[in-house]
Each structure stands twice: as C-alpha cells, then as structure tokens.
C-alpha cells in the first residue's frame, strides 16, 4: 500500500528525511569519537603511560 501524502508530500518527506540525516550524523559522530578516544588511549597504554591505579585507561573499570 502506498501512503498518500497529498499536495505537500515534499514538505513531509523532507522533514522526516532531515530528522533521519541529523540523527544519523549524531550517532556517527559519537561512535567515531568513541573509537578515536579508545584508540588514542591504547596508543598511550602501549607507550607505557598508565593511570595511577595501574589500570588501563581504556578498559573500565
């Protein structure tokens, strides 16, 4: 069944598409940022820089 959106379909579709794109950008940014930070922490770990507690800074707790 094809949904009928009337004469203003382009406004409705653009609204939902914009929301999807913005949410996708937010999710992508947060996922990439997490990967970036954990990678930098691993590199520091490998170079011998560790936290005072002796734990790895990457793997919590």
């Amino acid at each position: 069944m094809i949904m009928s959106l009337g004469p203003y379909a382009s406004f409705i579709v653009t609204s939902y598409a914009a929301a999807a794109v913005v949410v996708a950008i937010l999710v992508g940014w947060i996922v990439l940022d997490y990967r970036n930070q954990t990678q930098r922490l691993r590199e520091l770990d490998r170079s011998g820089i560790t936290r005072r507690s002796g734990r790895s800074a990457v793997d919590a707790p």
């Binding site: 609204s15 940022d33 930070q37 954990t38 922490l41 507690s53 734990r55």
Partner: protein
C-alpha cells in the same frame, strides 16, 4: 549503585557499558512503533497529511528545551556541588541539544510554509527558539575556546544558567504575545486538545526521542571522560619528555615515573 557512586567516572563508565545496549534497543523499538503509528495516523480535517510533520517537530521542540534544562541542572552541579561528572554531562549534552533545536526549527519551517504560507516569521516563539539554538552554538564555542576543561566548565555553567531564562519565554511566548504559532495544545490546563489518534503517536515519538537523547547523552559523556583521560595522559607524557631531556642534559638523574592520575 547510588548517585554518589556515579561521581566516580570509572564506575560511571562501567554503568554505561551495561546500560547503553539496552537503551539503544529500547530507542530503536520505540522509534519503529512511533514511526509506524505516525504513518498510519489519519489526516487532519484542516491540515491534511501535513499534520504528520507534528510527530517529528513537537518531540524535537520539547527536547530542545528539555536538554537545556538538563544542562542547567548539571551547571548547578558544577557551581554548587562540584560534582565531577556535572560539567561532563553539560558539555556532552550541548551538541545533542543543538541538533534537536535545529530539527525543531527546520521541521517547523517546513510545516509553516504550507500552513502559514511562509517558512519564517519573526514572531516570539520562532525567534526565542532561534535564540536558544544560537545559545547552544555559543556554549559549544566556549567549551572549545578554553583548553582547561575545569575553567571552561565554570564559565559555561554561568552562561547556561543565564540562558535558562529563555525557557519560560519560549514556553509562554504563545500566551504572552500575539504570535503566528499556535498556543499549547498538549500540555495545557484542561487537558490535551488533540484527538487520541494524533496524541498517542505523538507521545510515543516523544518517548522515543527522549530515549534517543538519554542514549546519545550517556554515550557522549563516556566519550568526554575518555577524552579527559587522553588529555591528562598526554600532559604526563609531555612532562615526562621534558623531564627526560632535562635529566639528559645533566641537571637531574632521576627517572620519571610512568604513573599518572587520570580522570
């Protein structure tokens, strides 16, 4: 686990690792239900199918204010209680709040063109939400402008609390001034003016977007804690390098410790 326990970033990271997959799953399920209900909602007798924009526009508009309220509470946590995660929470929420506010403005504009005959009008509601968006951008710029997170946190907390004045202005702008924007139709004295066929999908979408915010916020807070660990470890690495070069030039013979304090 109490609120005090969560003041420990390591415990907070452990909690987010456990909770995030469940929150993400709940968000996806609620969004799917909300989108299905929105697609099957009837056309409005005046607006026709354009009423479907409401199911995206209103949750984003609510969240644009809700996120600033969350940031304001976090700012109190920074200034009054000096909670170690308060400024992390405020900083992590700002880009997410800016995105929701942008979507509220954009979808409102796309709804306004067929209904009002214009994309934009400088009326009280639209202008006050635009100011909120600009304040989000200003806060994000402030965080980036100051290197030391604790110094940036106090300035940002003051700006956030001052900006909270805008929240009641946005909420009551449609009552205080003669605006093109319609008055409140869901949260108002006397109950919702919306029919259940519109109200239920709208509330489901509002819950879905709120879950989305909670999920993204916790994930962004986790990233911010890790970023601060990276920063403190890099500073230690730099001081070690400086100390080593000093020792190498004969001024000192001690070995630097590898251990550092982290966030």
């Amino acid at each position: 686990m109490s609120l005090i326990d969560l003041a420990n970033p390591t415990r907070f990271l452990a909690l987010t690792a456990r909770v995030l997959p469940w929150l993400a799953a709940a968000t996806v399920i609620m969004l799917a239900i909300g989108l299905y209900q929105s697609a099957n909602a009837p056309d409005d007798y005046q607006q026709g199918a354009t009423v479907k924009i409401m199911f995206i526009h209103v949750p984003n508009a609510w969240l644009s204010m809700f996120v600033w309220a969350v940031m304001s509470i976090a700012s109190l946590g920074t200034l009054v209680w000096r909670h170690p995660l308060a400024d992390v929470a405020a900083k992590a929420a700002a880009p997410i709040g800016a995105a929701f506010t942008f979507l509220a403005l954009l979808t409102g504009s796309l709804w306004g063109r067929p209904m009002w005959g214009t994309y934009w009008e400088w009326d009280a509601r639209l202008t006050s939400v635009l100011i909120l968006f600009l304040m989000y951008l200003g806060l994000m710029a402030l965080w980036r402008a100051v290197d030391d997170p604790s110094r940036a946190a106090r300035a940002a907390a003051v700006l956030t609390l001052v900006g909270a004045i805008n929240l009641p202005i946005i909420k009551f702008s449609v009552d205080w001034w003669n605006t093109l924007h319609q008055p409140a139709s869901v949260m108002r004295i006397g109950g919702s003016a919306l029919d259940k066929s519109f109200l239920i999908p709208l509330l489901v979408m509002a819950i879905a977007f709120t879950l989305l915010f909670v999920t993204l916020h916790l994930a962004a807070m986790r990233n911010e804690i890790l970023r601060r660990r990276v920063r403190s470890l890099q500073m230690m690495q730099a001081s070690r390098a400086a100390f080593s070069s000093e020792a190498g030039s004969g001024s000192r013979g001690q070995n630097a410790s590898n251990e550092v304090g982290a966030a």
